[in-house]
């Protein structure tokens, strides 16, 4: 009995949970449990002002665990072997401080392709990158070779551009010699051409600093989308849910939300209500304009649909923004160079993380817009409050600003009733709360 038995039961509990969730999802491609993230590194060639890796990287990823590329590659290989041996075919995210400048990234992705190329079903590989590889012709060739290699063997590799845009890129300075930033119009031309060629999207972050120029920035994106033949909706906008938003910035943000609605409706869609509804629900409304669709999980982000593995030490963590030592969930057990099991570290937190509903968070529990709020990022909440599940007041202000301005704009263009008629009852009730409580008639 005692501690050994305690550990054995914890391991069994975790395995039982994973078998019914991720393991099944990876075998049967069940959407809510079908992803895995290989968290490779936290070091980046950019020093973005809002980035948690820039602020807390060494707490989130033990520096000794990332220092040896051979170890990273070996661990990644062991993990991929384990997936393949168990007939697991999850979609795979590769997350790192900029991956494309690290040789180990290419080796890992090639290994994924090699191991899955002969299987009937193959994973998609998704890689967020800041696109600085475009500054080097050699690196660009290397990235394209990798993409081609995947295509050749039926493994689709998707890059997603973490680029905030010409007018907001000042939030994302290069780490070395930022005063000599070579990202000029030529660079951006390359970026749009590259994404047009490969069909990749953009996911700029909307941050408090430079929020006043986001309208201009958005128009710049649209101008280039038009120039390169990229669909106008191919941009995923996400507000940085950090605590530093000031009242003036919140007002600017609210105005920007309204601008997005009016511009899209009037200019892009020519005042067509049906096209706008289609844009909102089928084309996802740039992400930021559609808080109305339910995701079937407890939170909108990928936290509950992805198993996050820190490759340096093969620890399972809640996500890449919450991988602090005391929040580690479990670890892969390695014997003779192979993964032979999973050892529970914090089974309580693991089950809580994968099953909570953000509507039950303290304070959110009684909020009139809890069904349409994007809710906080657990990492940002932890950084500010010391608790993963406690939203902080400026986050609530940010989200309320977004929702109120959005609902008001939808009412102004005459589609609010249609939206109300489409959405789930609890969402409709929240929309009505917004109108009654926050919008003057």
């Amino acid at each position: 009995m005692g501690v050994d038995e305690y550990q054995r039961e914890n391991d069994e509990l975790v395995m039982n949970f994973l078998k019914r969730t991720f393991f099944r999802g990876w075998r049967e491609n069940i959407p809510n449990w079908n992803r895995i993230e290989l968290f490779i590194d936290y070091v980046c060639n950019q020093d973005c002002v809002y980035c948690y890796l820039a602020r807390h990287g060494s707490e989130l990823y033990p520096p000794e665990a990332r220092s040896d590329p051979k170890r990273l590659l070996n661990n990644a290989k062991m993990l991929i072997d384990w997936l393949v041996e168990n007939n697991f075919v999850p979609n795979i995210d590769i997350f790192s401080g900029e991956p494309t400048v690290k040789p180990v990234f290419y080796e890992i992705v090639r290994y994924i392709v090699d191991r899955y190329k002969d299987m009937d079903r193959k994973p998609d590989v998704v890689v967020p990158t800041n696109y600085t590889f475009l500054l080097s012709d050699a690196l660009t060739r290397k990235v394209e070779d990798l993409l081609m290699y995947g295509l050749k063997h039926g493994v689709r590799i998707f890059l997603s551009a973490s680029v905030d845009g010409k007018y907001c890129e000042k939030n994302r300075p290069l780490r070395a010699r930022p005063e000599l930033d070579p990202r000029d119009d030529r660079f951006y031309d390359k970026m749009f051409r590259f994404n047009k060629k490969w069909g990749f999207g953009f996911h700029p972050m909307i941050y408090a600093d430079y929020i006043d120029v986001w309208k201009l920035n958005f128009l710049w994106f649209q101008e280039n989308f038009k120039k390169y033949g990229i669909p106008f909706w191919n941009i995923y906008l996400l507000e940085v849910r950090n605590p530093e938003w000031k009242p003036k910035q919140l007002r600017e943000f609210g105005e920007f939300i309204k601008f997005l609605v009016y511009y899209t409706y009037n200019v892009i869609l020519g005042g067509s209500k049906s096209k706008f509804i289609d844009f909102l629900f089928r084309l996802k409304g740039y992400n930021i304009l559609n808080p109305f669709s339910r995701v079937g999980r407890g939170i909108g982000c990928s936290l509950q649909s992805m198993l996050y593995v820190r490759i340096g030490d093969l620890k399972i963590v809640p996500c890449h923004r919450t991988s602090y030592k005391h929040l580690e969930l479990a670890e892969f057990v390695v014997k003779d160079g192979r993964i032979v099991g999973i050892r529970a570290i914090n089974p309580e937190l693991m089950i809580a993380i994968f099953t909570f509903d953000a509507e039950n968070f303290p304070y959110c529990e009684q909020c009139p817009i809890k069904h349409i709020c994007s809710h906080g990022c657990l990492g940002a909440q932890y950084e500010f409050t010391g608790d993963l599940f406690t939203p902080f007041p400026t986050l609530c202000q940010l989200e309320l600003t977004k929702i109120v301005n959005l609902v008001e704009a939808l009412r102004d263009i005459g589609v609010l009733e249609t939206v109300r008629s489409i959405v789930a009852p609890e969402v409709r009730s929240d929309i009505d709360n917004v109108v009654r409580l926050f919008i003057k008639r």
């Binding site: 305690y6 914890n10 069994e12 509990l13 309580e348 039950n360």
Partner: protein, 436 residues
């Protein structure tokens, strides 16, 4: 301090203890004596009492063993009463190993300034249990000191109220032992009944109340397995069949009796970080549980020791100490972080849904894995009630934080130990006592 709503404060008053009880939550190292000396210096200085929230009505003397520094508290009582005009009570837990004159002397002084005194004696039961948990010869010494205490207090004329009760704690090993030899259970309760009767018959001071709180509590949260849970159920069944008092039945009864007031969450959660805080002279804590954690020398000394020398230092290894120091031990002069701390703790004490829903899920998962009774798989109401029980009768945001990284998530150890029959017996007992 900006803590006007705080009504009680647990003050750090000691850092060393002559005993090494097997289940003590404070890991011990040879740095404890230095730690203790630093605390003594701080208490002599007396400024600590000036820093306490002005509205408090109760002070708890915490740390290791409060009688070690009780004389200093006594010497400061005038000052304490002066700066805390609403103070009504001092309470503490003692191992009763020091001469009882110390406690009597404090009571005399408390009487002078008009503050009631309440204390509990850490006595786990007869020799075979107390000596085994706390050290050889401890039981005899405690009992002798209790007799001496009564003789001394008989000669003190009091206008304040003094209460004394037992605080028995059982390790799961004790439970197993009693299950193997049920006559020991009778012996256990008989020991407390006899001792209480003897002391009551000796006592001539009508201001002293001796409370026979013999119902044991379990070491929590522990690292319990489903097998431990079955042992606890067996033990509870025996208590129920023989009408012995069970502390957890009383706790559950309270929840059932006041169920119409469940919307007042804080009425049912532990007071730590709500109406009560810990204070170490410089920083506030959720409660006494994290005293010493902000002393790097002490933490290092524990980390340097072989793990087996202390009961449980696993949270020291998991980075929890850094997390607690960063967010849950707050400088008493740092207004921003005190506001943040209170905001986060209000999330625990004013809202139900997150903790109840997470606990419910944990119960269901444990049932699916066969680690708690299958009743929780099929009977959702029972699962809901167990979740409520865990978050009320066993509410402890501090242990949650230490073990799971969040004040809102309880340990599966607690669910296992109560979810293998024990809670079902509690529910039956609550019905017997008239709850529905």
């Amino acid at each position: 301090m900006g803590l006007e709503l705080i009504e009680a404060c647990e003050v750090l008053t000691s850092g060393w203890c002559p005993l090494r009880c097997v289940y003590c939550y404070i890991p011990k190292s040879d740095k404890m004596k230095k730690l203790h000396a630093d605390i003594v210096r701080m208490l002599y200085d007396g400024r600590i009492f000036l820093m306490l929230p002005k509205n408090i009505r109760s002070i708890g003397l915490w740390g290791t063993e409060p009688t070690l520094t009780m004389k200093i508290i006594e010497n400061n009582l005038d000052k304490i009463k002066e700066c805390l005009p609403r103070l009504e009570r001092i309470d503490f837990s003692t191992n009763m190993m020091m001469p009882p004159e110390i406690i009597v002397s404090l009571i005399r002084k408390a009487d002078e300034v008009g503050i009631n005194v309440s204390f509990q004696v850490s006595l786990d039961g007869p020799e075979w249990i107390t000596d085994s948990n706390r050290g050889k010869g401890v039981t005899r010494r405690i009992v002798n000191n209790l007799r001496k205490f009564i003789n001394l207090i008989n000669n003190v004329k009091l206008s304040i109220n003094v209460s004394m009760r037992w605080k028995p704690t059982l390790a799961i090993g004790n439970v197993r032992e009693m299950n193997r030899h049920p006559e020991l259970i009778h012996e256990y309760y008989h020991f407390f009944d006899k001792l209480t009767d003897e002391l009551k018959s000796m006592c001539r001071n009508d201001k002293l109340e001796i409370i026979n709180s013999s119902a044991p509590t379990l070491v929590v949260p522990g690292k319990y397995t489903s097998s431990d849970g079955k042992e606890l159920a067996k033990f509870f069944r025996y208590l129920a069949d023989n009408r012995y008092p069970n502390a957890y039945v009383f706790r559950a009864l309270r929840v059932f009796r006041y169920r119409n007031e469940l919307y007042k969450v804080r009425m049912f959660t532990c007071s730590g970080g709500d109406s009560n805080i810990g204070f170490d002279g410089r920083c506030i804590h959720i409660c006494h549980r994290t005293f010493y954690y902000n002393n790097p020398e002490y933490v290092e000394s524990i980390l340097d020791m072989p793990e087996y020398q202390n009961w449980d230092v696993s949270h020291f290894r998991r980075g929890s100490i850094n997390n607690i120091n960063k967010f849950y031990i707050v400088d008493a002069n740092d207004e921003f972080n005190i506001a943040r701390f209170q905001y986060v703790m209000r999330g625990y004490h004013d809202f139900w849904k997150l903790k109840l829903s997470i606990t419910y899920t944990l119960i269901k998962e444990l049932a699916a894995a066969g680690q708690v009774s299958s009743v929780y798989l099929h009977d959702d109401k029972m699962a809901e009630m167990l979740s409520l029980f865990i978050n009320t009768a066993l509410s402890c945001p501090m242990e949650n934080l230490l073990n799971t990284g969040s004040i809102h998530i309880p340990t599966i150890s607690l669910i296992r130990v109560f979810g293998n029959g024990a809670f079902e017996i509690i529910v039956d007992e609550v019905r017997r006592y008239g709850g529905r």
